[in-house]
C-alpha cells in the first residue's frame, strides 16, 4: 500500500480501517536461497537490496525477538560521514548518500534530518586531529568545516565558554550529518523488503549452524531447521555467539553502550554536538527528548543495561559542556550490545567457511552505516566479491596487519 499524504487523507475519512500490516509476519519455510540472520537495520537492508538490486527474492530474515529489538532500536540515531581513513571514508559517504535518497526509495519517512554534526575540540592536539580528518573528508568531496571558538559560540551560545575545565577551542562541523528516526529505518526496510517477497520471521532464534565439512548449509532455529546455500550474519553484538556455533572465534568483544533520553522539552539543541574533553554527545529528538550518550561501560556484556558510573560520567561531561541541562531530567536509560572489533572498524567479508557471510564489528557507529552496509553485504552475498567501497573491511586484516584503526587504540576493543 503506497504511503502519501493522499492515502493518509483517504484513510482519515475511512477511520483508518484500510491500512494493512506494514510487513508480513511470515512463518519460516524449510529452505531459502539466502538466510539473513538478524532483523536489525543491517539484516533488513541486506535483504531489501538483495531483492531490489540483485534479483534474489527467496530470502528470509530470521530475528530472535521483534525486528529492531537490537541496536537498531536503541541507538542515538546519529548519521554522519566524517571519517578519516581512506578505507572508511568512502564507505560512510556512500551511506550518507543513500540516506539522502532513502525515503523516496523506501516510500517510508525515516525522518532523515540533516541538521549538522559538530565535534568539539579542546586542545591543539585535538584541533590537529580534527583538521586532518576534516581535510580527508574534503578530499573525498564530503562537506566539512573547521569552526573556531567564536563560530561555535555563535552557533551554540549555551555551551560553557567561560568556566570550563577544558575550554572549547573550536569544532569540526559536517552540516550534512544529523539524525534519522531509528525505528522507522527498521520498519521502512522491513516493509520494502516484505513487499518484494522477503520473509520476515520474528521470534525465531538461530540456535545452531548446520555444517557439511567446510560449508555452512543452514541453521537450526527455535522454529525448526532452515536450509540455505548462503547464510549471512548481521547480528551485531551476538556475532561471536553465532560464529561459535560454526566453530569460529572472532576478533570481537561484545560490550554494552548506554544511552539516555530526557523528558521532552521544546526545541533546544539544533543538531548533534559532541564533547571532546569527555564522553558525551547529544541531539534532540522530534518528540523533544534530549537523546544523549557517552562511553561504553567497558566490559564484556550481553545484558543490554549498564551501570551507574557510566551514567555519572556521561552526565558530568554533559554538565561540563552545557550546564543549562542541569535541571532537565533524565527520563530513561538503556543499553545495547555492540560488536566491538579489534581496530574499531567493521567487517564485511566471507568467513573461512563456505556459505557463511559476515557483517559485524560496527561498534557504536553502525547505525549510520545501515544503508551502505546492507548494500555492500548484498553485493558480497550475490556476487561473492566485495563492493568497491567496502573492500578494506576484511576479516584477515588483523592477521595481515592492514588495520583500520581510526583511534589508534590497538587490539583493545573497549578503548575504541
Amino acid at each position: 500500500m503506497h504511503y502519501s499524504i493522499f492515502s493518509l487523507a483517504r484513510q482519515a475519512l475511512l477511520g483508518h480501517r484500510g491500512w494493512t500490516a506494514a510487513w508480513r509476519d511470515a512463518s519460516p519455510k524449510s529452505s531459502y536461497d539466502v538466510l539473513v540472520i538478524g532483523g536489525g537495520g543491517h539484516g533488513l537492508a541486506t535483504a531489501y537490496y538483495l531483492a531490489r538490486h540483485f534479483g534474489i527474492a527467496n530470502i528470509a530474515v530470521l530475528e530472535k525477538g521483534w525486528i529492531g529489538s537490537g541496536n537498531a532500536g536503541r541507538n542515538t540515531t546519529i548519521i554522519r560521514s566524517n571519517y578519516l581513513l581512506p578505507g572508511n571514508n568512502p564507505f560512510y559517504e556512500f551511506s550518507m548518500q543513500l540516506w539522502e535518497g532513502l525515503e523516496k526509495d523506501l516510500n517510508y519517512n525515516a525522518m532523515v534530518s540533516q541538521r549538522g554534526v559538530l565535534n568539539l575540540f579542546h586542545s591543539d592536539a585535538q584541533r590537529d586531529a580534527a583538521a586532518r580528518r576534516g581535510n580527508a573528508m574534503r578530499l573525498h568531496g564530503v562537506d566539512a568545516e573547521l569552526l573556531d571558538r567564536t563560530a561555535v559560540r555563535r552557533m551554540l551560545p549555551f555551551l560553557d565558554f567561560d568556566n570550563a575545565r577544558f575550554p572549547i577551542e573550536g569544532g569540526l562541523l559536517q552540516r550534512r550529518g544529523g539524525t534519522a528516526r531509528h525505528d522507522a529505518v527498521v520498519w521502512g526496510y522491513a516493509r520494502a523488503a516484505s513487499d518484494r517477497g522477503v520473509d520476515i520471521v520474528q521470534n525465531c532464534e538461530v540456535t545452531g549452524m548446520i555444517r557439511e565439512g567446510d560449508r555452512v548449509v543452514g541453521v537450526e532455529t527455535t522454529r525448526g531447521t532452515i536450509r540455505a546455500p548462503k547464510v549471512a550474519l548481521a547480528v551485531a553484538g551476538n556475532t561471536s555467539r553465532l560464529t561459535a556455533m560454526a566453530g569460529l572465534r572472532m576478533p570481537l568483544e561484545s560490550h554494552v553502550l548506554q544511552a539516555f533520553v530526557s523528558e521532552a522539552i521544546k526545541p533546544l539543541i539544533p543538531g548533534v554536538v559532541t564533547f571532546g574533553a569527555g564522553h558525551f554527545y547529544i541531539s534532540q529528538s522530534d518528540k523533544g527528548g534530549l537523546v544523549f550518550g557517552g562511553d561504553i561501560d567497558g566490559y564484556n556484556s550481553y545484558a543490554q543495561r549498564g551501570n551507574l558510573p557510566t551514567v555519572e560520567d556521561v552526565c558530568e561531561s554533559g554538565m561540563a559542556l552545557m550546564p543549562m541541562i542541569g535541571r532537565l531530567r533524565m527520563l530513561r536509560s538503556w543499553g545495547g550490545i555492540m560488536d566491538m572489533s579489534m581496530d574499531g572498524s567493521p567487517i564485511i567479508d566471507h568467513t573461512p567457511l563456505d556459505g557463511l557471510y559476515l557483517n559485524a564489528g560496527w561498534c557504536y557507529g553502525g547505525f549510520k552505516a545501515t544503508p551502505a552496509s546492507g548494500w555492500c553485504f548484498a553485493h558480497l552475498i550475490a556476487r561473492d566479491e566485495p563492493h568497491p567501497v567496502a573492500r578494506a573491511f576484511r576479516l584477515d586484516r588483523f592477521a595481515s596487519g592492514y588495520l583500520l584503526d581510526e583511534k589508534g587504540q590497538g587490539a583493545q576493543p573497549n578503548l575504541h
Binding site: S240, R249, M250, P251, S301, N307, P309
Partner: protein, 89 residues
C-alpha cells in the same frame, strides 16, 4: 557492579580498568608458529554469553591485576583472584 578484590575487599567497578579475555597466555616468541599464535592471542577472543574469565586491574586501589570470573549475561561475579597466582598453561 562491585569486584571483590582479594586485597582491598569489595570495590566499585569504577576503580578498575578492564583488559578482557584472560584465557590466552602470551605465546613463546621463538615458537615455530609464533606469528599465528601471537595473532590469535592478541586478536581472537572468547566472547561468551555466560561465564567469562577476564583480567581487571585495580587501578585506583592496590594496583593488582586480577583474574575475575564473571557472567556476562547477569554481571554476577563468582570469583576474583590475583592474576600473578594463576596456574600458567
Amino acid at each position: 557492579m562491585r569486584i571483590p578484590c582479594p586485597f582491598c575487599g569489595n570495590r566499585d567497578v569504577s576503580e578498575f580498568a578492564y583488559l578482557g579475555d584472560a584465557s590466552a597466555p602470551r605465546p613463546a616468541a621463538d615458537a615455530p608458529d609464533a606469528d599465528r599464535e601471537f595473532f590469535e592471542a592478541a586478536y581472537l577472543r572468547d566472547n561468551p554469553s555466560g561465564l567469562h574469565r577476564e583480567l581487571w586491574y585495580h587501578a585506583s586501589g592496590c594496583r593488582s591485576w586480577l583474574e575475575v570470573e564473571r557472567n556476562t549475561r547477569t554481571h554476577d561475579i563468582t570469583k576474583a583472584t590475583f592474576a600473578r597466582d594463576r596456574v600458567r598453561a
